[in-house]
Amino acid sequence: MTTVKDVCRHVRSKNAGPFWVTVDLFFDGEDNYARYHDSAALGPDLFARLYGADPALVKRFAVPSLHVVKISYPRATSQGGMVERDMHAGQQYVRLLDVELDAEAVS
C-alpha cells in the first residue's frame, strides 16, 4: 500500500493564524500528483480523526503547478491553550506520513 511519505518529497504543517493549521503535501512529481492528489484518504474525516478538527470546516486545495495538495483545518484547541503541545503546529504533519493513499480517486 502506498503511503504519503512514499509519494511526497516534502510534507509540512504550520499555523495559519492562531485558529488554523495548514498542511502542504509536495508530491514527488507529475505522476504521483496525478494519481493521488484527489485521494479520498486525505478527506475531512482524516483530519477529524487525527486532529479533532470539525470536518465541515476542513479546506482542501489542489495546486497543480507545484504538484501540491494543501489542506487547512481548524485547531481543536486554540494556539497556546492549556493543553498546547505544538505552538507553531510545525510537527503536526508527521502523523500524515503513514496515511495510506488510494489511487482510485473520489473527488
Binding site: S72, P74, G80, M82, H88
Partner: protein
C-alpha cells in the same frame, strides 16, 4: 507609472532576525525607494500581545534598526515597520520607539517619526459589536462582551492607508502597531500609483524576506519591483536567486488558502497569476488581481487566563520504559488522587497533564502496538489551576509521587532524574488568543491613532 517601476527593499522577514548591511546597500543601489519590514506575527503565541513585550531581544532589534535607519537616512528613503515589538500592541510600539530614539541619537540623525497605534478600547468595541459591526471568522462564533473583557490587549490589524497617510505627512520612519504583513510592504507602492494586484501580491511574496528565494538560508532580504503589468522579485544576496517555484510556493506559506488572501478592503486573487523567470536571479509575476471589498479590520485579542506550574524528570529505567503507557496512566491517576486527598475541593477545577518527551509528547497519541521502547523519556508535568498559588500547591502535593512513583508497587521506590531544586517552576498564566473576528469600518483610519515625533523640531527647540 510615471517614474517607472517602484522598488521596495524588504531587508528581512522580521525586524531583529538579522538584516545584512551589504544587502541593504545593494537594494538601495538598485533604486529602492523605501525599506519595509514587519516586526512580528501571532505565530509565537499570545503572550507577547498580552504582556506587551517583544519576543526578540533588544540587542537584535537595535542592531537591525541601526543598519536600516542609517541606510534610510543616507539614501533619503522612508523606513516602514509594521507589527512593532512582535505583537503590535501600544506597549510593543513604545518599546520599539524607545530603541529608535536611542539609535537616532547614536547616529546623530533627526528623522520625522510617525507612530501608528491600533490598540482598541474595549467599550468602543462593545458598542461596535452591539451595532452589528463585528462578525466572527470560522471556527469562532459571535463575539460577546465577556470575551472582550477577558482580553488583556486587543489590536486591529491595520491596512496600508494609515501608512500612506503617514508617508504623505512626511514621515521618514513609520513604526506601526499590528498590521497585516502585506500592508506594511504594499503601502508605499499603492501610495505612488502602482496597480493594486501586483502591489499586494509582491508584498505577500516579500513578507518573509528570503523565504521566497531558492536558497533560503543565503541572505536575509528581497527587492521587489512593481510596474504597470506585474512585479519582479529578486534576492538581495547576489549568490542567491528566485525561481518560479520558490516564488509561487510562498503563497502556500502560513496561508490557509493558496489562491485568495483576504486583506483590509479587498481580496488578492492569484489563481490566474503567471510566474516566469525574468533573468538569472529574478522572477516576474503577472496576472494578480485585487478585488475590492467592504473595508474590514481583523481583531486580535490576547487573554491571560489560568496559571500553570511545571516539573520535569528524566527516566532511563528500562522496566518503566517497557511499560511507558501503563506507567503514564497509573501515575496520572495517582497524581490526581493525591491532589484530591491533600488539597480537596480547594484545588478547584484543576488539570494535570504529563507529556512524555521521547515517546509521544508532541501529539499525545498512544504510539502503535509494538513500537520499541525509547532509551529515555523526559516527563513534563503541567498543573493548571485558577491561581498561581494553587498551581504551585498542586505541584508540591504531587512532587513526591512524580519523582518516585514505582512501576510495581512492591518494588523499592525509585528516584527519577531531575535537574533543579526547587523542582517546581511557576510558569505564569496561560496566554491565548480569544478573537478571530473582523470589524467593519467606514474609514480605514478610524481605529488608528497617529502620533508624530519630529526630531528636527526637538533639535531646534
Amino acid at each position: 507609472m510615471r517614474d517607472g517601476p517602484i522598488k521596495i527593499l524588504v531587508p528581512t522577514g522580521s525586524l531583529g532576525a538579522g538584516a545584512v548591511e551589504a544587502e541593504v546597500a545593494y537594494g538601495i543601489a538598485q533604486g529602492a525607494r523605501a525599506i519595509a519590514t514587519d516586526a512580528g506575527s501571532t505565530d509565537s503565541g499570545a503572550a507577547y500581545l498580552a504582556l506587551g513585550v517583544s519576543k526578540n531581544n533588544r540587542g537584535s532589534v537595535k542592531r537591525d534598526l541601526t543598519i536600516l535607519m542609517k541606510a534610510s537616512a543616507q539614501a533619503g528613503i522612508p523606513l516602514i515597520i509594521g507589527t512593532s515589538g512582535q505583537a503590535g500592541g501600544d506597549r510593543n510600539v513604545d518599546w520599539t520607539r524607545d530603541i529608535v530614539l536611542e539609535v537616532a541619537r547614536e547616529l546623530r540623525i533627526s528623522p520625522k517619526i510617525a507612530l501608528l497605534y491600533s490598540e482598541q478600547d474595549k467599550a468602543d468595541l462593545k458598542a461596535r459589536n452591539a451595532a452589528g459591526k463585528i462578525r466572527p471568522l470560522p471556527p469562532l462564533g459571535p463575539l460577546d462582551d465577556a470575551t472582550i473583557d477577558a482580553c488583556e490587549h486587543i489590536v486591529a490589524a491595520m491596512g496600508p492607508e494609515p501608512y500612506m497617510a503617514a508617508l504623505q505627512g512626511g514621515a521618514d520612519i513609520i513604526l506601526g502597531g499590528r498590521t497585516t504583513d502585506t500592508a506594511v510592504i504594499a503601502c508605499f507602492a499603492l501610495l505612488h500609483g502602482a496597480p493594486s494586484g501586483p502591489s499586494w501580491h509582491a508584498a505577500k511574496i516579500a513578507e518573509c524576506g528570503a523565504q521566497a528565494t531558492v536558497v533560503r538560508n543565503k541572505g536575509a532580504g528581497v527587492l521587489i519591483s512593481i510596474g504597470d503589468d506585474g512585479f519582479e522579485v529578486e534576492p538581495l544576496s547576489l549568490d542567491n536567486w528566485c525561481d518560479p517555484e520558490s516564488v509561487s510556493a510562498h503563497m502556500l506559506y502560513e496561508n490557509s488558502d493558496p489562491f485568495r488572501l483576504t486583506e483590509p478592503g479587498g481580496v488578492l486573487d492569484v489563481s490566474r497569476s503567471v510566474y516566469a523567470q525574468a533573468d538569472k536571479r529574478s522572477v516576474k509575476v503577472t496576472g494578480s488581481v485585487w478585488e475590492p471589498k467592504p473595508y474590514t479590520l481583523k481583531l486580535e485579542g490576547a487573554a491571560a487566563s489560568r496559571f500553570q506550574t511545571i516539573m520535569l524528570i528524566g527516566i532511563q529505567d528500562p522496566d518503566v520504559l517497557a511499560n511507558i503507557d501503563t506507567f503514564h496512566d497509573n501515575l496520572l491517576e495517582a497524581l490526581n488522587q493525591r491532589v484530591h486527598a491533600t488539597i480537596g475541593p480547594a484545588a478547584g477545577d484543576f488539570h494535570i497533564s504529563l507529556r512524555l518527551y521521547g515517546w509521544n509528547a508532541v501529539s499525545g497519541d498512544k504510539p502503535p502496538e509494538g513500537t520499541p521502547p525509547p532509551r529515555e523519556v523526559g516527563v513534563l508535568f503541567v498543573a493548571t489551576a485558577d491561581t498561581q498559588e494553587m498551581a504551585s500547591q498542586i505541584a508540591k502535593a504531587c512532587n513526591p509521587y512524580f519523582f518516585h512513583y514505582p512501576l510495581f508497587m512492591d518494588r523499592e521506590l525509585p528516584s527519577y532524574g531531575f535537574a533543579f531544586t526547587p523542582a517546581d517552576i511557576d510558569r505564569g498564566p496561560v496566554f491565548e488568543f480569544k478573537l478571530n473576528h473582523v470589524v467593519e469600518v467606514d474609514d480605514p483610519l478610524e481605529l488608528v491613532r497617529t502620533v508624530w515625533i519630529d526630531l528636527r523640531n526637538e533639535e531646534a527647540a
